[in-house]
């Protein structure tokens, strides 16, 4: 079919595919590898840190060292270069690498392995620790599911942050405020309507719906863009998008 559904594509309205951060992390060029890795770190460091804390019951300091050590070693040893998208998602590969890394590190002295330049991006472990305290993994979730859940949380949080920044840059603070109030800060028991929000903000209802539509559209675009960045090809991107946006009832 000529016009098969393409998530985030189709009419060319969405920006062109960005160069995959996973492919960049596999590059023989150190600068390119660092660029790719910094994107991957931003998306994955929290899921990795929390995974280490929960699965391996590592202490706060040990988990920090392991997280930083993992990315530092990834940069140094280029172990993302062995990733083959035909064999599964990058997320699964990453977790396997992490498990292997932890097993190796338990035998070796971790701190000596750390590069002087690590981490690639500043990691706020205090924040991650605080989040961990607020949300215990559900008893019925496997560690694989937990890692996925934390990855989704991290990706969405990054996307919300990007949306906020982009809105601020474009002078669209009000659409972001509306998005924040309606989609993020809403109490589940609160019956917030467009009309009520319009009253709160002293603007017409149509403006609320238009701004909200704009912010939702932008949020979707950013999420898919980020997802595309951390996948290697169209197929993996689509699979990940389906897995990410498939809402379990």
């Amino acid at each position: 079919m000529a016009d098969d559904t393409d998530i985030g594509e189709g009419s060319g309205k969405f920006p062109a595919t960005r160069h995959s951060a996973v492919l960049a992390a596999q590059s023989p060029n150190l600068i390119e590898r660092e660029r790719g890795l910094s994107i991957l770190v931003a998306a994955y460091w929290k899921p990795i840190y929390k995974y280490l804390r929960i699965r391996y019951r590592e202490g706060n300091e040990e988990a920090k060292d392991l997280t930083q050590g993992f990315f530092a070693l990834a940069l140094e040893k280029e172990f993302f270069s062995a990733y083959d998208s035909q064999k599964g998602s990058f997320r699964t590969y990453l977790r396997t690498c992490l498990d292997r890394f932890v097993a190796n590190q338990k035998k070796a002295a971790l701190r000596q392995k750390r590069s002087p330049g690590a981490p690639v991006v500043p990691l706020d472990f205090e924040v991650a620790e605080g989040e961990l305290a607020r949300s215990e993994p559900a008893a019925d979730r496997t560690m694989e599911q937990y890692f996925h859940d934390e990855f989704v949380r991290s990706l969405f949080a990054l996307s919300v942050e990007t949306l906020r920044e982009e809105c601020a840059l474009r002078g669209k603070d009000l659409p972001f405020r509306i998005f924040e109030r309606y989609e993020l800060d809403r109490d589940p028991d609160e019956r917030l309507t467009y009309e009520r929000l319009a009253e709160e903000l002293h603007i017409p209802v149509t403006q609320v719906t238009n701004f909200l539509a704009f912010a939702r559209r932008e949020f979707r675009r950013i999420v898919l863009e980020k997802l595309r960045e951390i996948t290697t090809n169209d197929r993996e991107f689509r699979d990940e998008a389906r897995s990410l946006l498939g809402v379990s009832e």
């Binding site: 559904t5 985030g8 949380r153 919300v160 993020l184 949020f219 389906r242 990410l244 498939g246 809402v247």
Partner: protein, 345 residues
């Protein structure tokens, strides 16, 4: 960077699915419902100033075959202009490639939710309307293939609408036949040979066996019998265990007779159910109109053709049907008899 609770993450998944209708005349208002393949939104048609239901394929299901199914579903419904079939107003594609179609917003309840509150005659009248809509579809070469109470909506003014034509099959119009839906889902899946489409608890044996080439209007007749079974007993003809057995090769498993579940079910209605749900397609009613006519006969106190009634049953039916004139004649005769003896005395 802000922390997002589990609830917010779940909500944001929905937000990320929110359709971008910026280049269309529709403005999405709220999510009405979500299925395995698509989400239905309440939207405003800004040109005509009316509210419509907008069915949008889900990102999670956005495979080419699902997109084609949605398109075909829209086309199938569009050709079925009948008061019992929800009309499609428009169809299109979102900028991100997802397909949608706009249909009449039905502000009603599903039959499975409402039927318990309805009297038997009310349920039968709804059933007749379902049969009429299905008969209309059959006359236009369309087999629904997933008839069940969950796919019937009752509007606020008693309108009966047969919904969800997503797995409908268009019978030959010239050479061969075309299928509307080739999509794997828990309840319905690909039309490739040997795979099952529809909902097992209401599905004809030939459909449950995956013999898609043999699935014709008789499969809908079977499902109509199953719907009537539900309307009489309050439960599907096959429970989860039996449906599972049917999926595992016992497709011809007979349904539990309605009177075994509820002895109060009138025998003629049970007979309609059992004839419609005959394992052999040739043993079933030939058309949905015949099923509707049988229900009408029962409501009118006439003899149901599928039921061989005994003498007492026939007498009882005649009494029920002609109760008033019989009682008048009886009262007259009693009065005459009393007067006769009074005059003699």
């Amino acid at each position: 960077m802000r922390w997002l609770s589990d609830e917010t993450v779940r909500h944001l998944k929905r937000v990320a699915e929110w359709p971008d209708l910026g280049e269309t005349k529709y403005r999405p208002l709220e999510e009405l419902g979500r299925g395995g393949m698509s989400t239905v939104y309440l939207a405003e048609d800004t040109v005509l100033g009316r509210r419509v239901a907008l069915k949008v394929v889900s990102t999670a299901a956005a495979r080419p075959e699902i997109v084609e199914r949605m398109r075909s579903e829209a086309r199938v419904i569009a050709r079925l202009e009948h008061p019992g079939i929800v009309p499609v107003h428009d169809a299109g594609m979102l900028p991100d490639g997802r397909v949608f179609y706009a249909m009449k917003r039905v502000d009603g309840k599903r039959l499975d939710e409402l039927s318990r509150k309805m009297s038997l005659p009310e349920r039968l009248r709804v059933f007749q309307r379902i049969c009429e809509a299905v008969a209309f579809a059959h006359a236009h070469g369309v087999v629904h293939r997933d008839l069940k109470p969950e796919n019937v909506m009752i509007g606020p003014f008693g309108e009966v609408l047969v919904m969800d034509w997503g797995v409908a099959k268009v019978l030959a119009e010239g050479a061969g036949e075309s299928f509307v839906s080739p999509t794997p889902e828990p309840s319905s899946c690909s039309t490739a040979a040997g795979t099952i489409i529809g909902t097992l608890a209401y599905m004809a044996p030939e459909q449950a066996e995956g013999s898609n080439g043999q699935v014709g209007t008789a499969a809908d007749i079977y499902a109509l019998g199953a719907v009537l079974h539900f309307l009489l007993t309050g439960r599907p003809p096959f429970d989860a265990g039996a449906a599972e057995r049917r999926a595992r090769g016992e497709a011809r498993l007979a349904p539990v007779a309605p009177r075994r579940i509820d002895p109060e079910v009138p025998r003629p209605l049970e007979a309609i159910v059992l004839r419609a749900m005959a394992a052999e397609p040739s043993q079933r009613y030939a058309t949905a109109s015949e099923v509707a006519a049988e229900a009408a006969r029962f409501l009118d106190g006439e003899r149901v053709l599928a039921h061989r009634e005994g003498l007492f049953e026939r007498a009882g039916r005649h009494f029920s049907r002609y109760r008033t004139p019989i009682l008048v004649v009886f009262a007259y005769l009693v009065a005459r008899t009393i007067l006769f003896f009074f005059a003699r005395g």
